[in-house]
Amino acid sequence: MNIIQLVWRNSWRKKSRAVLTCASILVAFYLFSLLSAINHAVTNSVSSSSQQRLMTTHKVSITRSLPVNYQQKMASLNSIAQVTYASWFGGFYQNEKNQLAMIAVDHPSYFDLYPQYQLTQTELSQWQRKRDGLIIGQAVADKYGWKKGDNISLSSSIWMNKAGLFDWQFTLVAIYKTKDTATSDKQLFFQHKYFDNARAYASNSASWLISQGNNNTDIDKLMENIDALFNNSAEATRTTTEQVFIKEQAQQFVDMAMVIKLVVIAVFFTLLLIVCNTMMQTNRERLNESAMMKAIGFSSSYLVQQLFLESLLLLTIGAILGCLLANISLVYIAKLFADFLPGIAISTSHYIIVTVLVFIAASVCSLVPAYTIKTLNITNTLGARA
């Protein structure tokens, strides 16, 4: 018999209360973990190079295009290392329920800036030579059973071709691999040149340009310089880092960082109320036992330690189960949002925050019982004076 066994047995003395307390903690940490994973995707889903990559879009709206010759103008800046461009195709397969994350890209330069999409040199060369060549992710290939060499007809909800049709023909050239789980395997890429030549309108324009500065370039300065280039043109630009761009797109739906902060605060106070209430109730019920233990030589700090460990145990069980359940749910959630928001996963730092929260909550919840124990009058508690 030691303090751990005593803590364990005391914790389950009132099983239903302990289970309900753990369940409340579980729900709180489950919600916190889910939102944290989504926030992690928003802030970190793209590779670290996304902080270096710059996105240049039309100043008015992302839906308005920019001339592709901006590529040369931007490349003329000394601090720019590479520039490429891309356009949103708005593709789907057979019917609009089968939406595809499909973009037309500048074939000579695009993959130099996105090394996370892994292609062999042969595959890349084949695709660059094949005008209607298509590169897809493994998940798309698996979903539709497409193989290299397949001729595929895909439709666009935006772009009509010169034949007056929204159906476009492609040949599957390569299936890219991903470097990490943060990279989506549901993307489709095809040549912007083919797109420009075939579309019925707005040729020689792109939805956005992507650039990368030279090493040690001041990113803020570079963004200013890019926008200054087109300040007086008809198509003025707005340049941000790719990370900010993605964040902004996500924040059109919801300010995730704010939601996370509010949830953390709500979770923390809910935890405090639940566990504090449980521990105070527990302590009140056991005052006689605490007095007896003090009488036979147990110090107040031993008893406080015992209560602290009990609250820590309940919080830890709830937190572990909450995180575990969130991880299970996230497998499905991540698949569901893979196109829109790749990389939904719980980060290591989240577990550190959870651990810190658990310890803080356990400490705070032990404060009132600790005071009660410290000031406990043994003789009054064990029996009235005679």
Binding site: M1, I3, L6, R13, I296, S299, T379, R385, A386
Partner: protein, 240 residues
């Protein structure tokens, strides 16, 4: 277990006064109270309620501090000890048996008995051996694995006594140990305490209303008479 028994004063209460506040009133429980107890005595303190029997026990056990006066146990003045030292002193020297046994309901009999040994440097095996031995002494070996709720009142009190003696404390302080028991169980507990006193030299101070207690104790103090006698002596000393 300790079997030493001498006639030297082992516990001395010297001019003890104890009062406490009850609202705005100051209630005096003891005033210039004196008592000496020899090592190996089994004392039954009897008397009507409200006379300070339990308070006396709490003072000797270091659970409460006198307002004035000195309490010496085995040459150590305990009323000057800090809270921390007093707690440690209690764990080493005193075994408590309460009217309500206060066993932990989540622990079986053996673990309850083992509880005070958690504070000692004994290892798990040694602690279990001591607990087994203590349970054997109180005749509860066959109930070692039982939870308190599976025991009768008398059996629970036996376990509480085993818990009081397991750390080999020299002094057992028993506050109405038979108060909740039927006659048969009460006699068994009194006989057990008498055995611990005779065979193992434990100094036992028992507060009780049980009239049979006198048959088992080596000395019975009727507190009311004792206090009156002391007052008379004090008055005599003052007038002379």
């Amino acid at each position: 277990m300790n079997s030493t028994s001498t006639n030297k004063p082992y516990i001395t209460l010297d001019k003890i006064s104890k009062s406490y506040s009850k609202g705005k009133k100051q209630v005096v429980v003891h005033d210039n109270f004196n008592l000496t107890i020899n090592r190996g005595e089994f004392i039954a303190i009897m008397g009507p309620s409200g006379l300070g029997k339990s308070t006396l026990l709490h003072l000797i056990g270091g659970l409460d501090q006198p307002t004035s006066g000195n309490i010496t146990v085995d040459n150590e003045q305990i009323n000057n000890l800090s809270e921390r030292k007093l707690t440690q002193w209690r764990s080493e020297n005193i075994g408590f048996v309460f009217q309500s046994h206060h066993l932990l309901p989540v622990l079986n009999a053996k673990s309850n008995v083992e509880l005070p040994l958690v504070l000692t440097p004994l290892n798990k095996k040694q602690r279990q051996q001591h607990a087994k031995l203590a349970l054997k002494l109180v005749g509860m070996s066959d109930r070692a694995q039982h939870l308190p709720k599976e025991l009768s009142g008398g059996q629970e009190q036996r376990v509480a006594i085993a818990r009081a003696i397991v750390s080999d404390a020299n002094i057992l302080l028993c506050d109405e140990p038979t108060g909740n028991l039927d006659r048969g169980s009460a006699n068994e507990i009194l006989a057990l305490l008498a055995t611990l006193n005779k065979d193992f030299g434990k100094t036992i101070i028992m507060v009780t209303h049980d009239l049979n207690a006198a048959d088992f104790a080596t000395r019975t103090i009727h507190l009311e008479a004792y206090i009156n006698q002391q007052s008379a002596i004090n008055n005599e000393v003052t007038t002379s």
